[in-house]
Symmetry: none
Subunit: 215 residues, 4 copies
């Protein structure tokens, strides 16, 4: 992108698109469209339009609709995983605090962002994309559960928590979040004006920690 316009008579492109941004823009557009209509229901034309390009251009970067779909899931979720795990590394403090922190961060980083569409997509298309589903299950679900399981295990070890099956307890810590993530989009227009997500999280943390507490 030239700082100084070298061809002043060419007035059109006020802002030049950096080549490298294209694929990301297309993936971002595709995420929206796939989430809204599902894989089969999504039209590449809509993806292209939303990305500000034409159908042909999509094929410059992605071999097929299927390849684009996979890219959407992988490229969107992989950075999120890294972010999640980095966060976990940095955690200090009691298991209770860590658990609460993880729950709130999940919501902040996934539940409220465009990422929230991915779980819905996987749920909807799992039968049609087994390999992708397996990838997601192993790289996201399981990893997420392990993260949480580690926290719970620590809490058991240091006497904060009761002795429970840690993997199951981890799932139970996450499932109200996952479910809210998925369901909120679906019922967005049905839910009473202000369903209070904050209170939902607070209550979940409260009930869960009370439930698992040693005492």
């Amino acid at each position: 992108m030239p700082v100084v316009a070298r061809h002043p008579r060419k007035p059109k492109p006020r802002w030049q698109r950096r080549k490298d941004a294209r694929p990301e823009e297309i993936v971002a557009a595709a995420l929206d469209v796939f989430v809204e209509h599902g894989f089969a229901g999504a039209r590449l034309e809509d993806v292209a339009r939303r990305a500000g390009v034409t159908k042909g251009t999509v094929y410059l970067y992605f071999k097929s609709k299927e390849a684009l779909f996979k890219a959407v899931v992988r490229q969107t979720i992989v950075p999120a995983i890294a972010q999640g795990e980095a966060l976990a590394q940095a955690f200090t403090g009691s298991a209770r605090e860590l658990l609460e922190r993880l729950v709130r961060e999940y919501w902040r980083l996934v539940g409220e962002t465009a990422l929230a569409g991915i779980p819905k997509l996987i749920i909807a298309e799992a039968a049609n994309f087994p390999a992708l589903t397996r990838f997601y299950y192993e790289e996201v679900v399981t990893r997420g559960h392990r993260l949480m399981a580690g926290v719970i295990e620590r809490g058991i070890k240091n006497g904060e928590f009761r002795k429970v099956d840690v993997m199951i307890a981890a799932k139970l810590a996450m499932s109200p979040l996952m479910h809210a993530t998925v369901v909120r989009r679906a019922f967005a227009s049905c839910m009473p004006e202000g369903f209070d997500v904050g209170k939902y999280l607070d209550t979940h943390i409260d009930l869960y920690l009370h439930g698992i507490a040693k005492h």
Copy 2:
């Protein structure tokens, strides 16, 4: 199919008149196909074949693919609702017991049956079928939550449970079930041979009741 043809001269009827049975058979077949592939990805031909009829027959009973889809959701869910509420009426005993009973019954009646496909369908197609989604939200989700909320309120009143926001607490009692319902199908082939649902339910009940208990 008899190994020995007993009436060789009877030239096997090309089709049977089954007027009354047909619609249900088609709806049942369609439930499977829609759950597996989503609305857009489902082929009417597959529905027909699975129902043992031809494409044309589907159109004798349903005006369009969309009409069939709506029928699948409504006809499948409406009896389930009735069943659920009837069950609730009959409940007696402590709030703790009722809650546990409701959780286990939900799993028995929905989580483990073909009905489990409906929540997935709604999640996947909510954006494409707003009216149907609203119907489902009001007639199923909200009703289910109210049922559970009633139990919790009763527990609070009679001193079994702590004072919490009853609607939110109701959602939190259900969401691990809902989520498991949806996710189990998606990750069926990924999950380690024996993920123990029974233990998952037990642990949920245990943690939840501990969490909400007065003392």
Copy 3:
């Protein structure tokens, strides 16, 4: 149709359909439907419903849609032809009078009746039913023209009319009628409330007879 009901307990069929009437009823219904929608656009189901029977019944009397179509044209037009020629036989008086009489009778017997739909049908479907078209051309068009040509020839012979090509003059005597027949249906809803057909006929006769008159 029994004048006295002999089976008073059977309350349904207030009027019994005489078997022999069925085909005619179906043909009459089919005429309407074919005229309205054309051959390809007509649905046998509509024909059946309008005839008060079911689709299957139509096939008891007609081998196929095509056969029904041909029957409609032939059965409707054949009696009309006979009627027309009988009328012609009976004509007496001057050629002028005969011509006027023929014009008015044509309108009365064809232009204003359900028969008027047939010319439209033939025009619309000629390309698809060459044999039927040829039949119509020879048995109806040509015969009609010959009838009129005979009158004109007589007028020329007896000095009422100028010497003209009789076949062409015959066509010209008929074409405003044929055209009005066809066009009136098409533009029925467009034409100003009261297009005066009577005046149209009067003027045609007036101009035509003036045009062909010897003096």
Copy 4:
């Protein structure tokens, strides 16, 4: 197709970009097919093949079969109307001469060209396309009649013609032409080798002018 391939390595393009030419080509092809088979009987595949494209291409330019049909009528007839009226403006000379000229021009511009198919189409499909029919009636039929009516009125004013209802007389001047237009296609294969259209027109003009002449 050259007998000798001159550039054997050039792998013949599967298709050409012809954006501007396409719509007209498709409309022209569609005119033929619709005229031949009617709206319902026409197959888009045939239209496409005749236009040298594939089915999909038709949908690049026309939203539906119905839209294509309407475009055929409007685009084909509108230029013809303009042409007709321009011609009328330029007319000079006696009313008799004008009338004769109009009749002959109509035949030259419509009766003998592909345009002749349009009246047939309208007659056949009027019931199915009321809006289009109204458009045609107002923009073509009425306008044509007014044109002719003007000529006749002029003839009456300047004493060439008798006093008659001008609109009706206009219709009568046109109807043998319209009818011949429509009927000629229908009975093309039935009519005796050489039905002499020229003589038909001559005779019509002769009879009509005699009929309407003052003297």
